[in-house]
Structure formats: C-alpha cells, structure tokens
Symmetry: C2
Subunit: 518 residues, 2 copies
C-alpha cells in the first residue's frame, strides 16, 4: 500500500491512489491469467478427450474477460495519472516504476490491436493448424502455402498497428513480443559472431576421427522407472514439490499457476531415455526460475520471468551446462545405473558422457545437438526476416530452406516435411519467437561464466551434486527480480557486460574439441 | 436460436430477443461455473500444498465475476421481458420455460441476499472451520458453541431475505437451497412413514441370532490393485473414460467441468477394501447422471442434476441397490478374488454378501449401514428444525443429540466428537442439506421399483453384469432431463407416483429379514 502520497508534488496524493488502482487491477488480471494457465495445464495433462470442445469455449470466455479488464480505459487513466506522479516525484520505488512500465506495455499492446484483427488472426490460426497438419503429412508445401501467405499478410497488419518510432524493421515488432525491448539488429550482431565459429566447429567435428556411439540411449528403459529417476532429479536440483508438480504431456512444458504452484511436464519414451532425463532437467530449469521470483512480486506483472530468452537461459543452463557435463554424470550415472543395471552395464562416465553429447547434423531442430541447434535457429531467423521484410516470397520458401540448410548444416532436406514444414510455429503466428532459443543459449553460457567467476569452477560442485550454491546465485542474480529489469539490464547487472556470443562459443569449443579430439 | 418470434403476441419479437439474451447470459455463467469447478477439482486432487493460498484468491476473483454476471440488472430485465412473452404466447418450448424458471430462481436468490450478509457468512465460515476442528480434537462442544450460535443467527438472517409467501417454516428456505421446491412438511411426512419401520427392523436385527463377520473387508489390500479394480468397475458400469476421470481425494466427490468432462474421486484404504469399492460405485452413480444429460442442455441452467435428492438417488441406487446386492457379487466376487486371491480365499458369495451388508448401530454417520443410515439423518433433521424454529438452543444440542441417539439408534455417544461434533456441515452453513441423503435413498428405491416394473427383476441382469438396459432406463427417465422438471414432477413421470418411503422400506425389509433370518 502506498497511499501516503510518497510520489511528491501537488499530484502526489492522486498519483498514489492511481498507482494503487494500477496495482489492484493488475493483480486481478494476473489472477485471471493464472486461472487460464490452470485450464491449459489441465487440457494438456488431465482433460478427458471429449472435454476439449467445451474447454475451448471456457478459455474463450475467460480470455474475453481478461481482455476487457486489460483494456479498460479506467486502467489507462490510472496509468497516465500514476506515470505523471512517478515522473514528478522521487519517492517511487524501483518496483513501482517497473510495474508501471510493464502494465503500460501490456495495456498499449492490447489497445493498439483492433478486435477485428485479433479475431481474424484467431480464425486463421485454426485454419492453419489443420492445413499445416495435412501439408506435413503429405510433405507437400503447396497445401500450406496460401495459408502461410495470408498469415504473413495478417502479421504485417499487426506490425503496422504496433510499430512505433523505435521500429527499424517489421521484425523488431515481432521479436519484441517474445523478447521485450530487444532489436533485430542485436540478434543479427550475435549471430554474426556465432555463425563462422559454429560452422568451423561443425566442420572440425565432421572431419574428426572420433566416432561416438549413442545407441546406449535407445535401449529399452521401463517408463515407470524413468519416472522415478525424473523425480530424483527434481529433488536433487531443488524443485520444491510442495510448490510444484511433474506430470506427463505430449510436448513438455512449464507453466505458472501461482507463486507457489509451478508445474512442469515431461514425456517418457521407452526407447530414448535421454528424452525424459533432459526434458525433465530443462523444464525444471524453467520452473526454478518462476519459483525463485521474489514473493513480493507475486500475482503482478513483474511476477514471472522477464523474457523468453532469459527463461530459455535457465532451462538451457540446467539442461546443457549442468546436465550434459561430465561432472554431473560422475554423480548421477551410478544412480541411473541402479535403476537400469542391465541397460547401462557396459557404460562408464566417459562413454555415457560422449553418448549424450554426440554431434550429428540432422533435419529436425528438436532433435539437434548443442552444436547444430543454433544453426537451425539461424536458418529460421534468416528466412523470417526476409519474409516480413518482403525480400522473400512464401512460394520461394522451400528452396530457400534447402539452400540454407546445405550452407549451414551441410545437409539437404529434400522432403518438405523434413524441411520447411517441420515446425508448427509459423502456423501459430509465432514469427519472431525462434531467436529466443539461441538467445537462451547465449545468456545461459554468459551467466555460467559469471557464476564461475563468483563461485569458482562448476565441476567440483556438480561431482557432488551440490546444486544449492548454484541455485542461490541464480536466484540472487536473476530469479528474484522477475520482470523488474528488462533482459538487457538484468544481463548487465548479473554478468557485468551486455549480451555476447563469446562465452557460448568458448564453452562449445572447449567442450567439443575435447570430445572430438580437435 | 429462437429469433423467429415464436412467442407470439405483439411483444413476440422482443420477448424472443429477450429469451436469447437469457440463454447467452446463462451460458456464460455456466461456463464460468465450470471453470470454478475445475479450480476446485484441481485443489482437491492436484494442487501442491503451498498453492492453496493463491488458489483461494483465484476462486474469490472468479466468484466475484460470476456474482456480477448473475446479478446483472440487464439479466433481470431480459428475464422479465422473456417471461412476459412466455406467459402470452404458446410457442415457447418446455425447455425454454424450464430455463426461464431456473435462471430466474438463481437470479432472485442472488439478488435477494445483500452483499454484506454474503461476506459475513463467508467470514464466519472460515472462523467456524478452525473452531470446529479445535473443538472436535478436544471433543469439547463449548469451544464451538458461540460460533454455532452466530451461525444460526446468520442463517436466520438469510432465511429472512429469502422467505416468500410459500414459506411455512424457516426450514423451508434452507431445504429449498438443496432440494428445490420441496417443503419441510413433505420431509416430515416421509420420515413419519420411515421411522417406526426402521426402528422395528433394527430391533429385529439386534434380537437376531445371526451374527455376521465383516472382518474380511479389513484385511490387507494393496491400494494399487484396488485402483485397478475401481477402473474395472467404472468400465463395467458404463462410465465413459473419454468423458471423465477417476482420481484420488481425501473425501470422495463427483464434479462436472463440462458436458463431456465429469470427474469422480475415491480413496483407497489398505485395510478397508469396501471403502474404495463402494465409494467408486457411489461416485460413478453421480457421474453417470451428469454424463446422461441431453447434450442440448449443455452449459445451461438445465444442464446438471435437478436436486441433491435426485442426485443421491442415482449414487445410492448404484451403490446399494446394485452394488450391495447378492447378484452383483455373483459376477464380481470372482473378479475381485482374481486381484486378491489370498485375502478372499475363504469367501463365497453368501459370506461376502453378508459382510458388505452387516448392520450395526454406530456413532458415526459416514460409516453407517443401510438400515441405520437414515436414523442418523433423522436425528440431524430433527435437531436442525428445532434449532431454526427456536425450540432448541445451541447450548442444549449436545444433550439433545445424545437423547435422540439413544431413542433412534440405541447407543449413547458420550464424547462430543462422536456425537454433535462429528459432522463438518453445520460449520459450513449446510443446514437443510442432510435430508437430501435420505431423500436420495427413498427416490432410489422408488426408481428401482419402477425400473423393475418396466424391465423385470434386476437380479438376472446383475448376475451377468448387464448394466446397459438399467443405465438406458435411467437415462431415458431421469438423466436426460437435467433440471427440466422439478424433482417432484420428475419422480411422478418416472414412477407414476409422488415420493413415498414405501418402496425403500419394502426393499430394506426384504433384504435384511432374509439376511438376519427375521
């Protein structure tokens, strides 16, 4: 409560009341958003098959209420008044300024989009889903092309509504929806740093005499036993089970239903034990971020992770920097072997560590290793930019995809299902989303470097499964802040510098030169 | 859609529009109510322990939105206009008339209660929960008495708001909240029919030379295996798993989250196999009712069971008339024995049938058998009536409870925890609720008699686990109608007569005279 008129000036009292109004209205919107998250979590993990029909209506009803609340002119008025007070006075806390920034951001975003366009995008999304599934099954891009053309048109209409004086490219607007306040030029810059080093490293690996056998991961692993191991992993990593859950879904995800209710999912494949192990660690990383937000920010616009890139930095840090390290498996391989003694009888730490880090260019992004993964993202980022900037037509996409795949990965996906049709994202209007995966890898490596600057080498901690100091460092430097600081500022505060690809490249080169004896 | 002005008269067009408005607004309220059911189901079955704090806020936020929608004067206006048209014209369908009746009923109920009273009742409920728990643990009624006095005061304030020209007793208003349109005098009448026959039957059983051994039910039964058997039961009874779920909760319940999403719960006690078996069948009975409602009534005020009494008739019919019959276990005992061969090695159908129907007066209602159960309800009904009519003071309750227990059950609960403090209901303002349990038993037996009139004896069907004709009869006569017909009318349509205790008494006497050789 800040009704003491601390904002100063003749409007201090009124602006303090306005700030309280913003707080209360934001809180209601966040509570309703958590309810929406509950409905969606249930749909992915619990809902009986036929329940999906009414669930869609429930979600539409709730979304309409949220939209009405989030675009209420009274909220706009309160924001104006509170902003005026915050501008005049100096008694406004960092959190209140950040709250006003984030609530305004969400408000403006909603208010600027006409309802007719939102409706049309929702309609086209449904059409797209079915068209994309058909096209992918037939591996025939022509069955999806006209829908994608319409999708790009609608996306450009959306860009036109949202663009402002800082917009240098239509892609800026799209990127900003997932990675707030970041510009396309910054992403281009880190990819320019990244691309030659990744391509060179991949060339080296292809020329290496080392051949890694990954077939151990594809033996038969009882899924109930995998589940027990996932539970052990969560406990070891500090995921509090009285504040969260682990469930099964077709596509793993993490979701926040409240400050003390963060739920992660994984999937268990009998013939790919790495799928549940790394899926669990990855989603746990997302979940730990949300569980670490300062309780004072609960159910506010600041009460969640600040951007998809920072979120992915947490999941990738735990999955790759921690979970795919040799030291981690010095501790956990004996434990996994206790569950699967026969399957792992022929393994030692070196062979298992190599198996989980085997590099091989492949068509499908979601199956990619650490080295090739970001080349997949660069491919999409390049094509997306060209599409929305008008230098590439939808009809030219399949060939452009193949050409870039040859350039970057050295392989040619002749079937559209293995190339341009592999991801569902574009059909769901998620253009501008892919780069956040790579940003996550870069932020993750940069944070890991800063963490080791402060705590010393990670390996000794991982060998002993001493994750508490690591988690505490992340909580203190990243998690607790929620969305208080934009990603750029958060990164600078935690690491001392702005985003760079240097730490990630160093991490990859050190790790894979050793593995492949380069 | 009925925009063709079928309601007739000069206002036909306007009243048809008003009717459509009522439909749309009711639909939104029902969708929001299903969302609330989702949050509550999750709280009982999934929610991490610490998530309960924000969940309470989410529920309060959603309930405030539902209340605003449900008391919107525009809904009242639409109801008035639609009612005027329905009164004038003859083109209004049975469903539309019923919809107007039920939406008005809910609207009036909400509008008549001042917000200050609703808030005060909510506050007192929270206080009561904690006070009741403390009092029960200490078995000291004095620790709860003042809260219960305040509760009765608030209940009488509520009665004053809701009473109308049909109210003969304050209890009428309370009963009507759970068993719409039923009057206290009708409940008194069936209990008058019931009481002497139950007491006489119980006397006979106590004097019988037959002694039934029920200890087989308390052997050790693996709970995972019990779960498998519960799944088998649900499948056999026709509970569609693509339209529902079975989960575990501390207190079994059934809830409707949508027309194709009905969820039941049970609990598994290692040393009481009957708990999960009959709990599952009971909740399945509730669930089948909701799943059988005409899809045309989905997400409307008519789209759920019509009253708690009719609801309980479905659960009790399946649990007792079907599930505790000898014929049922001719089929299922071999199946249960396949799961638990050692535990049931010494059982035949007769011994098992006797064990699950053993009669013994006990202090605790929820553990009562079929014969004594309704005497427990009569005890509460009698005391509740006296309390709200002013002929009994809260301070006199403990002694009055013991006296009635001696009269009806022949046992004296000297400890308050075994008597007046055993149920949580009064602390939750559920006065007027208990009689619906007995109404359910009576309706259930009356429906069973009508069903056998139409289909012939049940036993041959049960011996073969042929439940489809039974379920189809219930769907056709009860389930599909939802809340279209008030319970009284529904009962008359299905059975040809109004509610009577005769069928239940006959059922009990036939069954227990045979079991106890009376």
């Amino acid at each position: 409560m800040s009704t003491s008129g601390g904002a100063g000036g003749p409007d201090g009292g009124a602006s303090a009341v306005a700030l309280e109004t913003v707080r209360e209205r934001d809180r209601e919107i966040q509570l309703l958003t958590h309810i929406e998250a509950q409905l969606r979590w249930d749909q992915e993990t619990q809902l009986p098959a036929k329940g999906v029909v009414e669930r869609a209506e429930q979600l539409a009803t709730l979304e309409a209420i949220i939209h009405q609340r989030a675009t209420d002119p009274a909220l706009g008025d309160a924001l104006d008044e509170a902003d005026a007070g915050a501008g005049a006075g100096d008694g406004v806390s960092v959190h209140d300024r950040a709250l006003l920034r984030e609530v305004r951001r969400a408000y403006e975003h909603r208010v600027k989009l006409p309802e007719s366009l939102v409706t049309e995008i929702a309609r086209q999304s449904s059409v797209n889903q079915a068209a994309w599934v058909r096209a992918r099954e037939a591996s025939d891009f022509a069955l999806f092309a006209s829908e994608l053309e319409r999708t790009v048109e609608l996306i450009l209409q959306r860009v036109a509504c949202l663009a402002d004086e800082t917009t240098a490219s239509p892609y800026d607007v799209l990127l900003d929806e997932f990675e707030p306040y970041m510009k396309t030029a910054e992403v281009v810059a880190v990819f320019d740093e990244l691309r030659p080093r990744l391509v060179a490293l991949l060339d080296g690996i292809r020329g290496s005499s080392v051949s890694i056998d990954g077939t151990v991961l594809a033996r038969s692993y009882d899924t109930n036993t995998q589940r027990s191991f996932s539970d052990e992993l969560l406990a070891a990593l500090g995921f509090e089970r009285d504040r969260g859950r682990l469930d099964v879904s077709a596509h793993p995800f993490s979701t926040t239903l409240g400050p003390d209710d963060v739920r992660v999912t994984t999937r268990f494949a009998e013939n790919l034990v790495s799928s549940s192990v790394f899926g669990t660690i990855h989603e746990c990383g997302h979940g730990l971020y949300e569980l670490g937000v300062d309780p004072a920010l609960a159910a506010s616009a600041l009460g969640a992770g600040v951007s998809l890139g920072i979120h992915e930095s947490q999941s990738r840090f735990w999955e790759n920097v921690v979970g795919r390290s040799r030291a981690f498996w010095e501790h956990f391989l004996p434990r996994l072997s206790a569950h699967f003694p026969q399957q792992l009888a022929d393994q030692d730490v070196d062979s298992f560590y190599a198996a989980i880090n085997r590099v091989e260019p492949s068509f499908i992004r979601v199956e990619a290793d650490e080295v090739t993964y970001n080349l997949h993202i660069l491919l999409r980022f390049t094509l997306e930019q060209q599409l929305v900037e008008g230098s590439l037509q939808v009809s030219e996409l399949p060939e452009a995809w193949r050409a870039l795949s040859r350039d970057l990965l050295g392989i040619d996906p002749t079937a559209a299902a293995d190339g341009v049709l592999q991801d569902i994202h574009w059909s769901a209007f998620l253009i501008g989303y892919f780069p956040t995966y790579t940003l996550g890898n870069l932020y993750g490596a940069q944070l890991a470097a800063a963490l080791q600057r402060d705590l010393g080498e990670l390996a000794p901690l991982l060998q002993e499964a001493q994750f508490t100091p690591i988690l505490e460092w992340l909580r203190s430097n990243i998690h607790r802040h929620g969305a208080t600081y934009p990603a750029r500022e958060l990164c600078e505060r935690a690491t001392g510098t702005s985003l760079t690809a240097a730490h990630f490249v160093t991490y990859l080169e050190n790790k894979y030169r050793a593995l492949y004896l380069l």
